[in-house]
């Protein structure tokens, strides 16, 4: 393995201890310092970004990618706003998750702690680098960053500004490290003893590659094959509005709808209305084609993420058939039902095994900001640790703290009983209090 990488890993493990043990006050103070440094040194950042942009233009990068790559005054003020919001959020470190008096003077607390060393792999978007680093600083985690290589100059400048700002502080600057090569990522995937969590972003194919090639836990989602089921008694106008929004509000998003299942009872009225949306290309099964004119759906149409203004539609007999279809084809991201039938609503909510299950609203609501999570770490389609849009709590683990005054277990073997008294979890840890 690359020696430079080894040094970074050694440094970040030390950094992880110092940042995880730091106070929320100190971490907030550093967040404000970083914000000020970014503003103060913005010309330096813009200059580095210009280098990236020139290279990108020479390499004939596509316009949407250049749009993400550019770091403007506007993007700077948006990341600064993000930092302000983070500062205001409750400190996630040390939050008491449960508190129980096991016996007199034997207090148990389950307390939230940072996970440790997190590796985030993301697109060539310099603003994302700032968001990710500050999320980790807020939550006391050390962060290994690997941004898209098109943004390398801007990323280097941003990381060096953050590092300089914290260099002489108590927290230090070892907790943040920048990876630069694909080989670094390949090496990281094998370091399950050193890296606690990987959060990859990017194409479905890339995320799936990461998930399939590491033993390190991964938070993320590779697919977003979302379905809407329009139930037998659905309000057809409502269904049409929701389906239109779910498909067209941002077709390339993972939470846009890719399949619509329509109950046969409302199929005719729903389809004739929905087909008026001429900006959407419909792939319909045979029964759909009997009602409206559309493209022909084949075997694969219901397993495809179009990420475009295209949608596959199938007519189903009842909720039973809809649930079976979802069970077979869903990527467990977001599914919605449009219904006025309380029994079917309940059944759908209980039986659909997806991160987000929505009733009578757009699949596009599946998002940390809209959910009001304060900060979004990512969206997880896994069932373990966190699921759906993930806030800061996704970057936290816990420790069981038990404080006694000499208690032994053998005395309880001899008939002494535990009290096991549940206590309210409000307020800071009793065990971690300074005095």
């Amino acid at each position: 393995m690359d020696n430079a990488l080894n040094i970074k890993i050694k440094e970040i493990k030390e950094g992880s201890i110092s940042i995880s043990g730091s106070s929320g006050l100190k971490r907030n103070e550093m967040l404000v310092k970083i914000k000020n440094a970014l503003i103060e040194k913005k010309e330096e950042i813009f200059l580095a970004n210009q280098e990236d942009l020139t290279r990108a233009e020479n390499n004939k990068l596509r316009t949407p990618l250049i749009k993400r790559l550019v770091f403007t005054e506007e993007k700077l003020s948006s990341v600064c706003e993000g930092i302000d919001k983070l500062v205001k959020l409750e400190d996630p470190v040390g939050k008491v998750l449960s508190r129980r008096l096991l016996d007199e003077k034997l207090l148990l607390e389950k307390v939230a702690f940072p996970i440790g060393v997190i590796c985030m792999i993301f697109e060539a978007r310099p603003d994302a680098l700032v968001q990710i680093s500050t999320l980790c600083l807020k939550s006391g985690n050390a962060i290994l960053l690997k941004g898209g290589s098109d943004a390398i100059s801007t990323n280097r400048t941003l990381v060096s500004i953050i590092k300089e700002t914290l260099e002489n502080s108590k927290i230090g600057s070892s907790w943040i490290q920048l990876l630069e090569t694909h080989q670094d990522v390949e090496d990281i995937l094998k370091m399950e003893k050193d890296i606690d969590l990987i959060i990859p972003r990017g194409s479905n194919k890339f995320v799936r590659y990461i998930m399939e090639n590491t033993k390190i836990p991964v938070i993320g989602h590779s697919d977003g094959l979302c379905t809407i089921y329009v139930d037998h008694n659905a309000d057809v106008n409502l269904a049409n509005q929701i389906c239109y929004d779910s498909k067209t509000n941002y077709p390339a998003a993972c939470n846009s709808v890719e399949t619509i299942l329509v109950n046969q009872e409302v199929a005719s009225s729903f389809l004739t209305t929905f087909a008026k949306n001429k900006d959407i290309i419909i792939y319909g099964d045979k029964k759909v084609q009997e009602i409206i004119s559309c493209e022909e759906a084949d075997e694969d149409s219901f397993d495809k993420e179009y990420l475009d203004k295209k949608v596959a539609i199938k007519i189903v007999k009842d909720i039973e058939e809809a649930l079976k279809h979802i069970q077979k084809h869903s990527s467990h991201h977001t599914e919605a039902i449009i219904t006025s039938d309380n029994k079917n609503k309940l059944r759908f909510a209980k039986e659909v095994d997806s991160a987000d299950v929505f009733i009578n609203c757009s699949t596009r609501f599946a998002d940390g900001f809209r959910f009001g999570l304060g900060a979004e770490v990512g969206i997880s389609t896994g069932k373990i640790h966190c699921r759906g849009p993930v806030g800061l709590e996704g970057l936290m683990t816990s420790k069981w703290l038990l404080q006694g005054c000499g208690q032994t277990v053998s005395s309880y073997s001899n008939g002494k009983k535990f009290i096991h008294e549940e206590m309210p979890t409000k307020g800071a840890s009793y065990i971690l209090k300074e005095n």
Copy 2:
């Protein structure tokens, strides 16, 4: 792959849907039915157990293994007691974890749901089979059981009694399946699309094998190299009591102490007292050997799980050296400090990266029953999902339920604001209510 296994997997996936959608009332009712059936058919169970015991004796199984294998009237009444306790526990399914009004008539709830299909691999202990199955029934999870092959006759009988009891109920009996061969386990390890979680028990080597050979999430712990640090101002009698209990209360347990680090300031008084425990074999470093007569500790002594009345002792300069030692050698299970120094207590609690961090009490307290978790699923040394002793919540994931009345995201793009009003989480889900 074995066709019989394929059929079981297909069945259990269907069973998983029916059990996860069932009501807590129904699941409790079934728990009571199972308890009654076990009592009613106890002679059948004892007879099957006799078969296992005869085979075990012929195979010259060691006495402690036979003790675990035997299923007596006493063990029956203990598992029945366990079922009674489970019935009394709050229903973990549908518990509201967070509740937020995103906007008028747009309610978000994060609700606990069963993880799905869980595979538990465990020792030849028939009582464990009942405990595990009933834990899964209580939490709405489907369970693939693989018990030690020495218990095969008893296990078959127990599973068939449970299956018969539920056969004609709404929940049905597909949610519980018994695996019988090692090849089944090998095949299961590759089924990451069908199995949501594996909980292995058994030898460290076996658990490590499972962890290293599957992409399915695993809850468990392979190692338990626990450490006690006796600080500079520790009460030496207290330290002696705690260390003795941590080593001798049950030396083969994962939470028994394997390494004691003693601050040089109290080394002499602690060691001379502790060495009086003639039932413990001490492996000491050079400095320890200058104070007491003991075995010589070598390089490996501090990386060894003795699981016996043996302990490695090292003298350290200060808490700094103790923390460094723990960081290098710990298995992140349970670490304890004996101290009267508040600053060191805090530092230890914050910087030690283990599931359980104890102050002035025995490492042997690290256990779901002693922690008062109601039911113990296992102990996890992972940081993701759950850590330390794990209760029923370890078998749960969550879904985000969002209920609206036709809301689209595009209307919020046009300036409409979210309310994001936090609401108390008390009581059952508003969205999942029956009427």
